[in-house]
């Protein structure tokens, strides 16, 4: 099978690249090994200092609500973090004291919502808290009515971020129906808004004519004289995927875009050069909670985001997303890195 571009990785970076290329009339395929880090998405895009019009356009066309304002957001354990661009599910407040009294509501029997930690964090921010639990009931109307009935002078309600796997209608309904400010706080993974966003982006990509190969894995590639001719996948075996150019957005260690061995860190598909210290003791910080150096390891690239094999650029291969680690600090980390590097790759590909 032949395409203009074959993308390895169906996460945020791969989908943004695929969607952008399809919109420009290029034929693409995305090979996705299982699901991806979008399923753990917190709902805010770090390292995106402004609301890029390109991103907003894609998300709007895919039916995903995003909003922008500089401020702080509530995290699952009751802490606050700076944020600018967020999914509609996540509120951004000008300051941590977003209400005077809050009612934190959980569902009985659900253990992944950390009400005690949330209350501690909110009290620290100067918000008086009360905890309540309701039974799991079917129907969003019943839930809204149950929560509304519990209100006793609170001007905010904190609910687990578990509503709306297919679309955000339930999220919007709760905000309308409950007579207080409704704030959603993250739970234990997976992330419902993240899953929804991934599904909407994937559906949008397919609606643009993209070929999404779910549950397949790129296992090898044919590279000659610095040019990739085709990639091999586990499911299609002898049927190679050929293209003019290739994008590698296979993620970091979690998605096996990078693999660590006892002595080296490798990129398994192409054997690309990876930037990491030779001395293993510099890979990690013995303090568990510290910022771990290995999280910054990534594939080396030139300015056009071409990676290298033994120091030589691969001319029709581009890398995007967390496989870059911190080798390109200008793109930031996390969702910001995925989006900004994907756009940069698309620009490189489309540039005549």
């Amino acid at each position: 099978m032949r395409f203009d571009c074959v993308i390895t990785g169906g996460g945020l970076a791969g989908l943004i690249a695929g969607i952008s290329l399809q919109k420009e009339g290029r034929s693409t395929a995305i090979v996705s090994t299982g699901q991806n880090a979008m399923h753990f998405f917190s709902g805010t895009f770090e390292s995106v200092k402004e609301a890029p019009a390109r991103l907003a356009e894609i998300f709007e066309a895919a039916g995903i609500k995003v909003h922008y304002s500089a401020g702080v957001r509530l995290m699952p354990m009751g802490t606050f973090r700076e944020a600018e661009l967020a999914l509609g599910d996540v509120d951004i407040f000008p300051s941590e004291r977003f209400a005077s009294k809050a009612l934190i509501v959980s569902f009985r029997g659900e253990q992944g919502f950390f009400t005690g930690f949330l209350a501690d964090g909110l009290e620290k921010a100067g918000i008086a808290c009360r905890l309540a639990a309701i039974d799991r009931s079917s129907g969003i109307k019943k839930i809204a009515a149950a929560v509304s009935g519990l209100l006793d002078g609170e001007d905010a309600v904190v609910l687990p971020q578990v509503f709306g796997q297919k679309d955000s209608a339930d999220v919007e309904y709760l905000r309308e129906a409950i007579p207080a400010k409704v704030v959603f706080a993250g739970t234990q993974p997976p992330s419902v808004p993240g899953i929804r966003t991934q599904m909407q982006l994937k559906d949008y990509y397919i609606s643009l004519g993209g070929t999404f190969l779910q549950g397949d894995e790129v296992t090898g590639a044919h590279v000659h004289d610095g040019v990739v001719h085709s990639v091999v996948t586990r499911n299609l075996d002898s049927h190679y995927l050929e293209a003019d150019c290739f994008v590698l957005a296979s993620g970091g260690f979690f998605s096996k875009g990078l693999l660590a061995t006892p002595t080296s860190v490798v990129e398994p598909v192409f054997g690309l050069d990876v930037d990491y210290p030779a001395d293993r003791s510099e890979w990690y910080d013995p303090s568990f909670a510290a910022d771990q150096p290995y999280m910054r390891f990534g594939v080396k690239t030139d300015v056009a985001l071409h990676p290298m094999i033994a120091g030589e650029s691969v001319r029709n291969l581009y890398v995007a997303g967390s496989i870059l680690g911190a080798t390109r600090p200008e793109f930031g980390t996390g969702a910001g890195l995925a989006i900004r590097s994907a756009f940069a790759v698309v620009d490189s590909i489309l540039k005549p």
Partner: protein, 404 residues
């Protein structure tokens, strides 16, 4: 005893990071609270079962073996393989008469064929359905597949010399469904392949692929079938032939389940077993031509069966269908139809089975096609019964679209 006996799994269970993604994509978990879900039934449960078989949970029988957990797993864990292997290893209860009957598609077909009109009439009667429900636990709301009076094998044997005259040859694993229920699908495949200059051969005595035996607690019989089939497939492969199938589950079982669930070495034949849609698509991509009817028109919606999704080959069927001039194609969102072979026939699973399929049925009604295209016969039974839409194998659609 080495520690590795207890700690190394063939199904990658030590790779599970407990991320819970699989539980989101399990069709059963959405509708059946008795099922603990792929993570608990699979890698979580395996850890305990390795410690002590006492931890085996009979609720594992609710797993449909659709493999959607494996397709979604970011870490390459054989989640459904772990569940099915545990059932094979620890569930020592003898299968019920009903399960034996449902699983023995080959044997039942042989019994029914000579008296097909009688059987078809009988199984369409309300009284028979009630009796089967009461006595065996086969749900009375199910409709049964019809049997054909003449087997596909006997038809193709009659045409063997004509087929042998084609310059290029391929072997066909027709499966029980084509042989006993729908020989026309086999004839359609022969028509399309002949139009490409390819003759069709039978294998030297194929047996049922055995998937229904695997899922109904008859792994010993399934293993016998697997060894037999690997041997006859091997003869064809040694003769330089590819083997094509028109049923995604038969192809998937022989390629993957033989090795991973039954421990039967199929490495010599695995890569030669192809879905007919992939085989034909590759021929056309490499320049072979089919003469299509100029006035052909059909509005179709393609449903990717779970095992086609697992093999990752839906893309071949989709692209092949798109090559047909006059075919207006909608690709339905990939979702399980709920039947899972014999699963949905069982009284205790009927309600879950229909609830699982509802999402797909809704998409089909919205698309409102003239036919639903699908590579799996049990999906066909489920969709036809539940929506009233006609389901055709993509090969039959292709056969209709080309000149006679």
């Amino acid at each position: 005893m080495s520690y590795q006996e207890k700690t190394i799994s063939n199904h990658n269970f030590e790779e599970c990071t407990k991320c819970t993604i699989c539980t989101l994509y399990c069709p059963v978990m959405k509708v059946n609270p008795l099922y603990p879900g792929p993570k608990q039934a699979g890698p979580d449960g395996e850890r305990l079962r390795l410690k002590n078989p006492w931890f085996f949970n009979y609720a594992l029988k609710y797993c449909m073996n659709c493999k959607r957990c494996e397709v979604s797993c970011p870490s390459g864990v054989g989640v459904a393989d772990l569940i099915q292997s545990a059932r094979i290893k620890y569930d020592k209860s003898a299968p019920k008469l009903r399960d034996r009957m449902l699983a023995s598609t080959d044997f039942m077909g042989k019994l029914a064929r000579p008296v097909a009109p009688l059987v078809n009439f009988g199984t369409s009667l309300g009284i028979t359905k009630t009796a089967l429900d009461w006595t065996l636990g086969i749900d009375h709301r199910r409709s049964f597949p019809k049997y054909s009076g003449r087997s596909f094998e006997s038809w193709l044997k009659k045409h063997a010399s004509k087929q042998a005259a084609f310059p290029e040859q391929v072997a066909y694993f027709h499966g029980c469904y084509v042989n006993y229920n729908n020989p026309q699908l086999g004839k359609d495949l022969v028509k399309v392949l002949n139009a490409l200059g390819i003759g069709v051969q039978l294998l030297d005595g194929e047996k049922c692929c055995g998937i229904a035996m695997i899922t109904n607690g008859m792994s010993a019989q399934a293993t016998k079938h697997a060894k037999h089939n690997v041997a006859v497939l091997g003869k064809a492969v040694d003769a330089g032939l590819k083997v094509v199938a028109t049923s995604s589950t038969c192809a998937f079982t022989m390629r993957d389940e033989y090795r991973s669930l039954l421990g039967v070495d199929n490495s010599a034949v695995r890569d030669s077993i192809l879905m007919a849609t992939r085989y034909i698509y590759e021929k056309l991509e490499n320049g072979a031509k089919l003469r299509f009817k100029p006035d052909f028109h059909l509005k179709a919606a393609y449903h990717t069966p779970c095992h086609m999704e697992k093999m990752g080959w839906g893309v071949f069927t989709e692209r092949l269908l798109r090559m047909i001039p006059g075919l207006e194609l909608t690709v339905l969102d990939s979702a399980c139809c709920g039947i899972a072979g014999t699963y949905g026939f069982k009284k205790e699973n009927y309600a879950s089975s229909q609830a699982i399929g509802e999402e797909l049925f809704k998409h089909i009604r919205e698309a409102d096609p003239e036919v639903v295209a699908c590579d799996c016969e049990t999906c066909k039974w489920q969709i036809e019964m539940s929506t009233g839409y006609t389901v055709m194998n993509p090969i039959s659609i292709l056969a209709e679209a080309i000149e006679d």
